[in-house]
């Protein structure tokens, strides 16, 4: 047997000291200072059986075999069973994917970027040169962004998303989720059948967040147009964008 006990302790220590040594950095002081390794993972998982959200505890009955072993102990210690919890943000269904691309200098124009998005998706949907598949790929794209990040949202299977990962220029393929949860909106500019419908975007400037969008805002007509997407969204898009001030806060007395 190898040095598993020492490894366990090492693993525990590595993660403990990693978080405690960076306590001067405010972010890490908020992270768990307890071990992140499986030893305490057991403790954590076992203590979260009554979490807030849906928490499915497996109730499959214990098996029995012949002969004694702790495995077929008639009164097993099941209190430490981990919950079968699937953590999903709203809107995350493993069919909507956020695909982030990177472009080398000189940076392409916005239209060129969007064209690159469609081409990238076409190469997994079908043959690149075929016009039909290009159009098919366009239909699968529901959002594009060329400011806050350079990427697009695509409605494809997990298998296809795995294929996108290896394509040139693709940096990340991540499960997409609602940016604006109450309105079930995935964010970005809308992309419908090849048409881009710009919307205010986020921009992080290291100091504070601004909404900083060079493109013109909607004209009044568009504000009242019902935009059909996979799920119905609200009509007045401007009202649905998060306000610059903090949500839920009333002036303090």
């Amino acid at each position: 047997m190898a040095h598993f006990t020492v490894r366990r302790k090492l693993a525990t220590v590595l993660t403990k000291t990693l978080s405690s040594s960076t306590s001067s950095c405010s972010s890490f002081s908020t992270l768990s200072s307890r071990s992140r390794f499986a030893v305490s993972l057991i403790d954590k998982l076992s203590s979260t059986r009554t979490g807030l959200g849906p928490c499915y505890v497996t109730t499959r009955p214990k098996t029995s075999g012949s002969g004694y072993s702790p495995l077929n102990d008639p009164s097993p210690n099941w209190s430490n069973r981990p919950p079968k919890e699937t953590i999903l943000l709203d809107g995350c269904d493993y069919e909507h994917w956020l695909i982030v691309m990177e472009f080398t200098d000189p940076k392409p124009t916005e239209d060129e970027m969007i064209n690159a998005y469609v081409k990238t998706l076409t190469s997994v949907v079908g043959r690149q040169k075929s016009h039909l598949f290009f159009e098919e790929a366009k239909k699968k794209i529901y959002s594009v962004c060329t400011s806050t990040y350079t990427g697009f949202g695509a409605l494809i299977s997990e298998e296809l998303s795995c294929k996108v990962k290896g394509l040139p220029g693709v940096l990340w393929v991540l499960p997409d989720s609602y940016l604006d949860v109450p309105n079930k909106d995935y964010g970005g500019d809308l992309y419908i059948e090849g048409k881009v419908i710009p919307r205010p975007q986020y921009r992080f400037t290291e100091q504070r967040q601004t909404r900083n969008r060079p493109r013109p805002r909607y004209d009044r007509r568009r504000e009242t147009v019902q935009v059909e997407r996979r799920e119905p969204t609200s009509q007045n898009r401007n009202q649905n964008q998060p306000q610059p001030s903090m949500g839920n806060q009333a002036p303090e007395s």
Binding site: H3, R8, S33, G53, T63, P70, W172, L174, F204
Partner: protein, 464 residues
């Protein structure tokens, strides 16, 4: 103040005495209870808050993360998102990423990463650091490296997170190379960096390098070695067969060695065939410590057995029984598509039991035929006949988990498993064979380290 000093009850007393309570006071109290793990009280207080802002939500969430309640933290985060609380300050995001790292939940982690990008925070330093750590803990060092390489600004935490991640995944040379690069960039390492580096050396037997780093830590950077550094160095010496030097170190180090440290030395003796020395250490361990880890008793039992000291073998086994250790049953969780499935050792009531059984049986036949595999029942300490032992091994949870992933997962994708106990020797062999037969990468995070099984080999080099 009382909240920060882990005395939420004292904080409550002060709080109750305030006539007009501000949001800041409420938030401080909620934070105190959350950090102390007093979930219900924290939630109740939070619900009663007249006004909540981003900082209140952040305090609750990060408090839960710190006290190890990652699932609760995530639930609260989901609720926060539903209330359209505007994320002006990304601290809450880094907390949630930390929760994902703690739980090794790559499904959740990747979602949060997506959110970080959409919200425009991907260039934020401390979020990037948290993401590196998260991906490393979720067994995706490539993603961790991708985050790191695209950071415009890095600090010691960025470098250390990646070094530690590489070290934990057996990528010792890369970790050391990264360290050289870090130093050449003028970034000073901290004590955690050295724990990672010496740990990395112990994987590949870089004794000279390990000693050098140990010296350099205090000589060049004024960092006093801690017990953890000594333990890593002992591990390195032990695994490289330098038991005498290891013994000298353990007797002269400024910290009293604990049970795992002695157990490491014992393990080294067994491996190197130094039975007399091993028995001496075993006696010491048994008499001076009341070992709490069941694996220690198994180790003791094996050491005595190899010297044919059957009386002592029985004593060790009896002590294990006396401990009334209801070991956590072995379980393995595997992420398949967007679900996390959990399997227990010996469980035969899963809905896909027949398919899992069929696949495992077929794989076992392939292993026996191609690789000459024979189950190693020495890993089962309990008294039962050989056939039962083999059956027990067959239903070790990580095997069911792999079979499920092979049946249900995306073909060709890496299979990621988290096991609560140490992978047993027989499963380790089986995993190697399965990775070769199915041409899939299988990554198992067990109680002590990561194993990357690919093409019939394991990244741990069969040392774990």
């Amino acid at each position: 103040m009382y909240s920060k000093c882990d005395s939420p009850d004292s904080a409550k007393v002060v709080f109750d005495s305030i006539r007009v309570k501000s949001t800041i006071s409420w938030t401080a109290l909620v934070s105190g209870f959350a950090k102390s793990g007093r979930k219900e009280e924290a939630l109740e207080l939070f619900r009663n808050m007249p006004i909540k802002n981003l900082y209140s939500w952040t305090a609750l969430i990060s408090g839960f993360v710190q006290s190890g309640k990652g699932l609760e933290a995530f639930s609260v985060f989901t609720e926060m998102r539903r209330e359209s609380v505007h994320i002006l300050d990304p601290l809450v995001l880094s907390s949630i990423v930390g929760a994902c790292a703690n739980m090794a939940a790559s499904i959740a982690g990747r979602q949060v990463h997506g959110l970080v990008i959409s919200l425009g925070f991907y260039s934020c330093l401390f979020i990037s650091n948290a993401l590196i750590d998260m991906y490393a803990k979720c067994s995706d060092v490539i993603a961790a490296k991708d985050i790191f390489s695209r950071m415009r600004h890095r600090d010691v935490v960025s470098w250390t997170s990646l070094i530690v991640g590489m070290a934990q995944h057996g990528q010792a040379e890369k970790a050391l190379a990264l360290y050289s690069e870090m130093v050449s960039h003028g970034v000073k390492p901290n004590e955690v960096t050295f724990v990672g580096l010496i740990y990395a050396c112990s994987h590949v037997g870089f004794v000279a390098k390990g000693r050098e780093l140990f010296q350099s830590m205090s000589k060049d950077y004024g960092i006093r070695p801690s017990l953890q550094h000594y333990t890593c160095l002992l591990d390195l010496l032990g695994r490289s067969g330098l038991i005498d030097e290891a013994e000298k170190l353990i007797r002269t180090m400024p910290f009293p060695p604990d049970e795992p440290t002695w157990a490491a030395l014992l393990s080294a003796c067994k491996r190197q065939g130094k039975s007399q020395m091993g028995v001496r250490f075993a006696d010491h361990l048994l008499s001076c410590f009341k070992p709490r880890d069941p694996s220690t008793y198994i180790l003791l039992s094996n050491v005595y057995a190899s010297s044919s000291l059957w009386g002592k073998v029985s004593e060790a086994r009896r002590k294990l029984g006396d401990m009334e250790v209801r070991k956590d049953p072995g379980y393995s969780s595997v992420e398949v598509r967007k679900e996390t499935e959990v399997f227990y050792a010996g469980e035969t009531s899963h809905p896909l039991k027949e398919e899992i059984f069929g696949l495992l049986k077929k794989l076992e036949e392939d292993m026996r035929r191609r690789n000459g595999y024979v189950p190693d029942t020495s890993w089962i300490l309990h008294d039962m006949d050989e056939q039962e032992k083999e059956k027990l091994l067959f239903w070790h949870s990580e095997r069911s988990a792999v079979a499920y992933a092979l049946l249900k997962g995306v073909p060709g994708s890496p299979i990621r498993i988290v096991k609560n106990l140490r992978v047993c020797g027989d499963c380790h062999v089986v995993m190697k064979h399965i990775s070769e037969i199915t041409e899939r990468e299988i990554i198992v995070r067990d109680a002590t380290r990561y194993h990357h099984f690919k093409g019939g080999k394991c990244s741990c080099n069969d040392f774990w």
